[in-house]
């Protein structure tokens, strides 16, 4: 149910603002923007495409955040292990919309 691929909006159709030409590494297709009426993409935006419809705009910021969280994975736990040696560990639960630890838990004052 779930084959959806990121594509870049190249141009909005001049005669139909609900239709855009979207590019996926050189493969192009008209994609229906009707499900994103409340937050219309503009050329240069990235959208998630499923059965020829744009389902969502892709947040470059969230993607970048996720990557940095992943890169810190081993380092966070290494730091946590070090911290636990000082008896300063803090098991603050992860917030609902986070993809990992909050930076503040680790890189802040606790590891001094």
């Amino acid at each position: 149910m779930c084959l959806a691929i990121p594509g870049k909006v190249v141009e909005i159709s001049p005669d139909n603002q609900d239709s855009a030409l979207v590019d996926v590494v050189g493969v192009r297709r008209r994609v229906d923007l009707g499900l994103l009426q409340d937050d219309r993409p503009v050329p240069g935006d990235w959208v998630l495409i499923h059965v020829g419809f744009a389902m969502s705009k892709i947040s470059e910021q969230d993607a970048a955040d996720q990557m940095s969280t992943l890169r810190m994975l081993g380092e966070i736990d290494g730091a946590m292990q070090e911290v636990s040696g000082y008896g300063l560990e803090d098991d603050e639960p992860v917030g609902e919309n986070d993809a990992g630890f909050n930076d503040a838990d680790v890189s802040g004052a606790k590891v001094n």
Partner: protein, 330 residues
């Protein structure tokens, strides 16, 4: 219909029905071409049918496919095509320009490939049959010296080579049919691979165990056939398989695997480890071979199957195709 798609069903049809009736009890591994002994002279011979739709597409037409396909079948059997005969089955009412274009394309492709078309036949069938044109060819050639191919000679440790990027032809055709409404700057890779095969034989002849042109069914199907014929495992390194970005994009969008997509200008070769370096060097330096890669190696396991591995340690079995590759949305 699945029986023509090149994968499992095709193989069952050939092995189960044709082979016993036509080839007798023990035909041995089936290749696309055969070497026939005629009173001491060995001649290579092959036959093929071309039913592509649409007849014309970016990068070529049924004409080029017919010539190159025939030349390539002979080349990967270790033979140089000398002559071809052609049979056309034409649908009544096919416009003359369409026919003319196909024949011109064949003539040019034959000149480019250095093969002579020496005889031909035409039949016309009623409107509604033959999708405008089907072409059948038979090609004969002489064996190239210095190479002896047998899938049963493949051994653990042998390297698997691929002459260039896969998936160009099949995706081009899929997009050219127009049903999926995608566009891409992509062309069929149809070409004669004979020059590359000759370069490979010159550099590594004694070490070449097996060659195949991965047409319908893709590289996965050809390698699965080899795996079955030799009882060993074909292990491929995913990051080393050459695929153009556009083909990758189309495959991701449509849920297809490039390993299952047809190619018309590439070939696979299995080469012994001692000759592998010379082989890949010769290919990459030859015209049209710059994208050749070592894509894997032969191991004991998984016996009779093809495994694709990733840099992070994941792997998956890639089976022969069952029917045509179908786009999916799930």
């Amino acid at each position: 219909m699945a029986h023509g798609a090149g994968g499992k069903a095709s193989r069952k049809l050939i092995e189960g029905l044709f082979a016993p009736l036509l080839f007798g009890a023990e035909p041995g591994p089936l290749g696309d071409a055969a070497h026939v002994d005629m009173n001491g002279t060995k001649v290579a011979i092959t036959t093929d049918a071309f039913v592509v739709k649409p007849l014309s597409f970016p990068g070529g037409s049924i004409g080029e496919l017919a010539v190159n396909g025939t030349v390539n079948d002979l080349a990967v059997s270790g033979a140089k095509a000398e002559a071809m005969v052609v049979s056309y089955v034409l649908e009544a009412g096919t416009p003359t320009p369409v026919l003319e274009a196909a024949i011109r394309a064949m003539a040019k492709a034959a000149r480019d490939a250095g093969v002579r078309i020496v005889a031909g036949d035409t039949k016309v069938v009623e409107h509604g049959k033959a999708d405008q044109m089907y072409i059948t060819t038979t090609g004969i050639g002489r064996l190239l010296p210095g190479v002896s191919l047998d899938p049963r000679s493949v051994q653990v440790g042998d390297k698997i080579l691929l002459s260039g990027p896969i998936g160009d032809h099949g995706i081009t055709i899929l997009l050219a049919r127009g049903e999926l409404d995608f566009e891409a700057d992509l062309r069929s890779d149809t070409r004669s691979v004979l020059p590359l095969v000759e370069a490979l034989i010159r550099a590594a002849g004694p070490g070449i165990r097996w060659m195949r042109d991965p047409t319908r069914g893709g590289a996965a199907t050809s390698l699965n056939e080899l795996a079955r014929d030799c009882g060993l495992g074909m292990v491929l390194f995913e990051d080393q398989i050459p695929v153009r970005d556009t083909v990758r994009g189309a495959c991701e969008l449509l849920g297809l695997d490039p390993l299952h997509i047809a190619n018309e200008g590439q070939f696979l070769a299995v080469v012994s480890p001692e000759y592998a370096d010379a082989a890949i060097n010769a290919l990459s330096l030859a015209p049209g071979g710059s994208e050749a890669q070592v894509i894997g190696e032969v191991r004991e396991q998984p016996a009779g199957a093809v495994l694709v591995t990733t840099l992070y340690g994941g792997s998956r079995i890639v089976d022969m195709l069952v029917g045509d590759p179908l786009p999916r949305i799930c």
